[in-house]
Symmetry: C2
Subunit: 372 residues, 2 copies
Amino acid sequence: MKIDGIHHRSISIRENDPHTVWIIDQRHLPHHLIWEPLRTAEETAIAIEEMHVRGAPMIGVTAAYGLYLAALQIGDASDFDRHLMAKAEMLNATRPTAVNLKWAIEQQLLCLESGGTNAEKTARLLANAHKLADEDAETCRMIGVHGLELIKEISRKKNGAVVNILTHCNAGWLACVDYGTATSPMYQAFDAGIPIHVWVDETRPRNQGARLTAFELGQHGIPHTVIVDNAGGHLMQHGQVDICFVGSDRTTVTGDVANKIGTYLKALAAKDNGVPFYVALPGSTFDWNMRDGVKEIPIETRNPKEVTWMDGKTADGRIEDVLLTPETSPAINYGFDVTPARLVTGLITERGICGANEREILSLWPEFGPKA
Amino acid sequence: MKIDGIHHRSISIRENDPHTVWIIDQRHLPHHLIWEPLRTAEETAIAIEEMHVRGAPMIGVTAAYGLYLAALQIGDASDFDRHLMAKAEMLNATRPTAVNLKWAIEQQLLCLESGGTNAEKTARLLANAHKLADEDAETCRMIGVHGLELIKEISRKKNGAVVNILTHCNAGWLACVDYGTATSPMYQAFDAGIPIHVWVDETRPRNQGARLTAFELGQHGIPHTVIVDNAGGHLMQHGQVDICFVGSDRTTVTGDVANKIGTYLKALAAKDNGVPFYVALPGSTFDWNMRDGVKEIPIETRNPKEVTWMDGKTADGRIEDVLLTPETSPAINYGFDVTPARLVTGLITERGICGANEREILSLWPEFGPKA
C-alpha cells in the first residue's frame, strides 16, 4: 500500500521501539493521517471496539499484537497464562461479528501450549503476531492474483475499454495488513496497466467507502467515483457496472457472507441485472460450523449516534460533528447484513476462486471437510 | 398536517396578502422551521430547482402558484400569453424527472384558452392554483383512505401487534399540500388507533427521510426509527418489515415507477423476502406515453456536492456543512431510479388500489385507455 508514494503496512512495530504497535487511527481519514501508538491490550481493545481499526483481517492481526502487548504488561508476574486469557477474553468481546478476531486470538493462545518462561512465551506471541501479519499480507496478495484474472477476462471481452468495478465499504489495505481483499485485484489490475474505474459506495453509516476506499484508491492513482449507497442499482440497470467485489467478515461453509450492512442489497441488484458479484476473503473468515448465515451469524448493533451524527471537514478546515435527524427521532444501527450464497457468483480466496457452496469451498479447504 | 399541534398546509396564500405564496424552505428542516415568501416566478423556480420544496405533487402545485405570480409580474403589459409561456418554460426546466411539474403547468396554461383581460386571466390562474392545491390535498386524503385498508388487514393478521412499515425518502405532507402520499395511510392508521411503527430510510444524499419524514412523523406523534439506506434488506430478512410504502415521481402506464434513488434496491429486498411493496401516487404522476421506465424515464443528475458534503447541527447549535470525502475524489449524484413493475405489489391511488400493470391501471383511468 502506498501513502504519498511511500510503501507502508497498516500495522507494524518499528525497529527502534519493540514495545509499541503502530496503527492508523482510521477515524480521522480522509482528512488527517494520524498514526496511533498502542502500548497495552486495553488500548488495543479500545482501538478495535471504537473502530480506530476495522476490517476482518486487520481486527484479527491487531488483536494478535494486542496479546503480545498484554504479555509485556504481565512481565514477570506469576500466573502468566491466566492473565493472558483474561486479556484475550477482553479483546474477543470487542466485535461480535468478525470471525477473524476469534481465530487470531486462538492462534495466539496456541503459543502458550509449549510452556516455558514468561519471556519465552512473550517472544513466541510477538513472533506469531508477525507471522499472522505476514501471512495476511501474502493471503491478500494471492487474492489479488486470482481476482486479477476476472478483471482481465472482462477487459478482453470489452476490447480494453475501461472495466467498471463496484465495491462496498472498505475491504482495502486499511482493512488488512496490506493490499486489501476486495481491492487487491484492483491494485494488481491497475499496476498491470488494465484500465479500470471503481464505483465507491460511500457506505453509511460510517462512510468507510467515502472516507477510506476513496482515500486508498486516490493514493494509488486509481480512477474512482464516490456514490451514495442508493445508487448502485441504477448503475447496474444501465450497464455501468461490469463486476462487484466486496469483502466478508464471516462466511459460512455453505457460502453465505456477512459483510457491511447494505451488501445484500447490492447483491440483489447484481443478480437482477446479471452483474457478477464476487466476495474476496481470506480463509480465516470461514466459520466451518455455520450453515445458515441469515439465521446464525450474530449481527452487531452499534451506537445509534453513528446514524444520527456525521463528522467531516468544514470549508475552512475544521472537523465538525453534526446532527442529521430531529433531536427526538430514535435510530438503530446494524453493522452487517448477510448475503445468501445464491446471490454470490463466486468467492475469491488465497487458494483460488470457487463457487459459494459447500462442495466447492471444501474442495479448496479439504482439511475442514468430512473425514475420509 | 400538524406542526406543534397546529394544522398547516405546505403551501398557501395568507388572507392579508394575496400577492405572496408561502412555503416551508425545507432545506433547513429538521433543525429550523422557516416559512419562505415567494413573490415572483423566478423565486418560485429557484425554490423548486434548489429544493426549498420537493416531492412530485408539491412541485406541481408550487409551479402552478408560480404562474399566478408570473401573471402578477406581467400586470397590464401587452403579450400576456407570450410572457406567461416564457415563465412556464422556465418553471418547466427546473426538475426533469417529476411529471407533475409538466402536468400542473399544462393545467394552468389551459386558463389562457378562454381569453379575456390580463386581470381575468390572472384571476383564473389564482383560482386554478387553489383548485389544484385543494385537489391535491383531497387526492392525498383518498390515497390514505385506500391505503389504510392494507394496514388494517395486516393489523388484523397480527392480532393488533404493531405494524412495521418501511418508507424511503419523503412522500409525506411536505412533498404534497397535505397528508402526503406514502404517509397518508400511516397518519390515518395512527389516528384510527392502529399501533404502527415506521422505519424511516435516511435517504442519502439529501436525507429527506432523516430530515423530513422523521420530522413529520415526530410532529404527529407516530413511533418511528431512522435507519441508514443500507439497513432495509437486513430488517426484511428478519421479519421486521410488514409492508413498504413509497411515493412516485413518474409512473409508466405499464406500472414502472421512478422514485428517489435507492427505491429499486428496497423493492428488490421486499420481493426477495415476500414483503408487500406498495407505491402511493396521485394519478397526475402517470406518464401515459411511456411503457419502459428504465429505458425511457429521464433521470436527473444533480450537483455532486450533495454527495460529498453534508450539513447538520453541531452540539452547540450551529449549522455546519462538512466534507465527507477526500478533496480529490469525484462523485456522481443520480436523483432517482426506476423500480420495474414486476417488483411492485400494487399502486395506491386516489381512485383505489390496483396492480402495477397496464390493464389494472387503465381500469381505474379508462379515459386514458384505448378508445372503444
